[in-house]
Symmetry: D2
Subunit: 352 residues, 4 copies
């Protein structure tokens, strides 16, 4: 069986596991103030070119979104996002559970269009009954999106500009950031740190067992973040469990001749194999992409009988029906996917 059902069906990158061993006998402070977390913070600040960044390590993505969004918004504020956004669809209402409305705007291939945002804001702030409506406090986007697509640097800049003019925070959910950065033509960690007010660097889907790193690049997080995080049940007593992993992931390694954090290197692997998958599906097999994704999530439209046949030998996800006889299916590579697996898959598919 070849497993392409998700990018969290795996364990942790070897370097990460190794680092647990290397550090296991040390005794440390707790609640975020351990040596490994502090060292990981320094490595992330450096990779982001953001020396003043404040960084917190949380255990998972939904937790991170709910905790951060609730912490930075005023109680009467809501969060704007494209309607396909993870917080709007697949977090069991965790953001609303903290009391904030998720205000969904139309999405375009999973992305928020700057024009839609601009128009919505214009209307809201011109409305005489605005105080009776939920005030926007933040724009939430994902990079890459839930459909694997990417914002260009220019698109991010345009969104940031609208945010600035309406005093909205720009928050980027980077659950799959490693894959987004590897695939993007022009978005880098330092650029993200410049354009976003807050973002998180996803670990769970990108080489770690668990853990996400929340970055306030300008160092302007709300006061008493430790209490706020604990109140949301998101403070790890033995915080080194995430610190050790991010220290490993952000230690530079030699990759294709240059030094870069392991995190960026393993993102590249997944994207390279995803592109090979794309060639297989589109060029060799002639399937139609459901969406044109440059990252590790690939979506193709399969005839239903072929889909059923494939399900016997490949793990993947049915995304949504396209018509009576066709279904869009999602194939996901990750840092753990091997060339061997993709080769096997090629053989398998070409032989059907």
């Amino acid at each position: 069986m070849i497993h392409l059902e998700s990018d969290y069906n795996n364990g942790a990158h070897e370097t990460v596991l190794n680092h647990f061993w290397e550090t296991n006998n040390e005794r440390t402070q707790s609640y975020g103030d351990d040596r490994f977390s502090n060292q990981a913070r320094n490595l992330i600040r450096e990779a982001c070119g953001a020396p003043d960044a404040q960084i917190w390590f949380l255990a998972g993505g939904t937790q991170t979104n709910a905790t951060i969004i609730d912490s930075v918004l005023q109680p009467y504020e809501g969060v704007l996002c494209p309607d396909t956004a993870h917080i709007n669809v697949h977090e069991s209402g965790a953001v609303e559970f903290t009391g904030h409305k998720v205000i969904a705007l139309p999405s375009h291939d999973g992305k928020l269009a700057v024009e839609d945002l601009q128009t919505w804001c214009q209307n809201y702030f011109a409305d005489e009954t605005a105080e009776h409506m939920v005030r926007p406090g933040m724009v939430y986007i994902t990079f890459p999106t839930e459909l694997g697509t990417l914002y260009t640097a220019d698109e991010l800049r345009a969104l940031q500009e609208v945010c600035r003019s309406y005093h909205l925070l720009l928050y980027v959910d980077g659950a799959r950031l490693a894959y987004g950065l590897a695939a993007s033509q022009d978005v880098t960690l330092p650029l993200l740190a410049q354009l976003a007010d807050i973002f998180y660097i996803g670990g769970t889907k990108c080489g770690a067992l668990c853990g996400e790193a929340v970055v306030f690049p300008k160092g302007d997080a709300p006061t008493h973040m430790l209490s706020r995080i604990k109140q949301h049940g998101a403070l790890l007593a033995k915080s080194r469990v995430v610190g050790v992993q991010f220290e490993a992931l952000f230690t530079p390694v030699n990759a294709s001749g240059s030094e870069k954090p392991l995190y960026l290197a393993i993102g590249q692997n997944a994207v390279t194999l995803a592109m090979r998958l794309r060639r297989l599906f589109v060029e060799k097999l002639g399937y139609q992409p459901f969406i044109d994704s440059p990252t590790n999530q690939q979506f193709y439209i399969l005839p239903n009988d072929r889909m059923k046949q494939l399900q016997q030998v490949i793990g993947f996800e049915k995304w949504c029906p396209v018509d009576e006889n066709h279904t869009a299916c999602r194939f996901v590579t990750s840092w753990a996917t091997t060339e061997f697996e993709i080769e096997e898959m090629e053989k398998l598919l070409l032989s059907l």
Copy 2:
């Protein structure tokens, strides 16, 4: 430096780390339905003698308390506990943050007295204005308590009886359960599973990197627990991170001639060393215990100048001032504490 400041200043038990390696190349389901979590559930059911038990794995203690208490209580219900209870003092108000009052009763060496509970309930249910007060829905206790003390089996039975007669759930926070079970004369996992409606088996402080196992021994958890847990930000996508650890911790090992789960064996180590610490402090050095604790948390009253001297070479926690010249100090052993450390400490203290 000898580190006795807490039981979460360490890494993970070797067997746990090893199990990460052994399982790292497997691909699994997610969100709690992975093979390792399921196997860990079976091992825990067996150790508890509770074949119908429902079990969820969460990342940390405060998260577990807030998520579970909020999930089982009705919105208008509160939780009764002794006033020293962790949820009442040291969780940044996480339970109240979910909307429920923590109703604190007097504590006796960290324990809730059955008489106090009985009287409070009697008064509440006799009060004509009861509907204007917070209705009790649950009793929360810790085993061992925040002061290291233990309830006897009879005390637990008496508490359970009062709970039954007033339709209150009995919830036992077992953040340090391994140490409590190792030290108790008569409380075992199967007994706990019989007396408590809900309890959690602490991993973070007892051999794991992170993770707690919530047990509903009778299998009567509220519906849609997965959604509830996710809504509280407590659902791990890559759930194996806790499953693998609890599989390792609940696999039986040979300890002092008999088979028992590793979890219970490593609890014993901490307690044995804690008792050796007690002999050192009380018998050899003549210090007064601040509280008489049979478990891994030990509290002694030190003269302030001696305390300051010790702080140079031993990591421990100032608990509270006793008088102008004396301070109660907490020394904590854990699964990770070694005989060597305690021996060094003996030498050190006897030489002062």
Copy 3:
């Protein structure tokens, strides 16, 4: 100045004020158990043909929606509604503030289409990731809608059927119920009590100073409603303030030759005058309706210069721009609007 800006720009119906006088010297129980509230409950049960109905009196509409929706939903459930619904647009996010997602479906002239509801439910319950999404628990509609339109009895029956088949509660917000019942061809209080699981009879906009009556026609409200209501800050100590008003509003009066509750009689007045307004705007002045409303809220498209002229002498609300030169405007009659006012308005408009 003629005031048609809203139906809550007025005081209370004379009979209501009189009843305050008549009852002022009596001493009563409190917190909902006063003689006037109990008598009002009986009158409402009779008017609804629902002898088992449970009824609570709250102070205002947003309060009622948030309190009731939060009380009957499970924490992980959301509420479905058309996107123009009051709870989705104009309640400052009060429902989300209690932790529940408002799931907006397309609206058609302010109404929810049964087909849209059916399709959404079908998709939700077929989705394999449903547990990660917000589960629907209730359908919220308004009668009349925010645009003055009405559901027919058949439309309500069809919605109820879908609700039943997916175990959703059907909740009807009747902030302007008096006007809806007066204008409807086939929806009556007893029919509403049969089809809705919960509804509220609006007082604030229909003759009272304040107050709404929440009806659970089948008598199946959640337990401990008094505590729940108080917890939401919605329990009036001197509950007679609403009880006295609803007693007055539901005491039968002789209207057009037959006996009916005052509440229904005063709704008729507003609708009659609204229809006269319609003839004036459409037939006599040739303006286009923005929406075809049979109730007390009337919407017409006015040229902007004419709109500005009217604003000098008539109080009304700009609803939304239609094109560069035209604006949809809302004119609202109420129980307090007089024939004289409408006559003056006719003269005024015909003379322009």
Copy 4:
């Protein structure tokens, strides 16, 4: 039957009802911006000597406490109060329902001792684990207290001083403020406006049908209060319902030869009759006071058989058992209590 069971068993003061009639035909703005509310604000500002005061009108006491406390506290902050405080005992947990811990300190005849507050704060801010505990943000007291007692001006000053030094807001719940001001030797509205950061002037128990006036005497309320209030379900659409009443209550009347707001005059009536009640119980009948209250709530210890006898003819409240044969009982006068009632009571009690 003579009714002394509470101060909300009545209707409204005649002047209040009259003012509803006088104003009934006017059309007004809504949501707090009506002419009557604005005029009432001016009258209150004048009575408080606080020209910059911001004032909001809400419907009831619990609603006011929950809305205001939640609006001014940070999410991680709690509210300190004496353990007998209304928010701690009799609001169905409404404050915790908004997410904040109520931190109860010992009470002394219903009052918070400045020493207790000082010590608690000192300990909290010296605690190294403070970030894991609920941070105090406010001190809540009632004037008069739930036991009818009063703080002296000096006591209020001392509390304010501690609040200032620890950056805590001082909030005074004035549900029965009219009676407190009438009975106090040295506390006046202007003094309260000087010492408290926030207070509310109770209407429900002091002459109105419903309604409380929240005062931020320094004009430093949080931004977007209208949205915050609406979000808590506490914004009245037809806001004049409270505005009209407070306009009536704060219009100066001639009382004992000088001009003062009706509100203060009617408080005097209740206190005068309460003192007459005290003479009856203590001097003439020889009963022991349960607490020495100078205000409209009077508490006496009655033999149980006498209590049962009285219950046939007088409405009053059993407060709590004192011993096997005696019960503390509460007798409450109000603005509505008449001399005739107290005379009848005297006859009745002296004849037993």
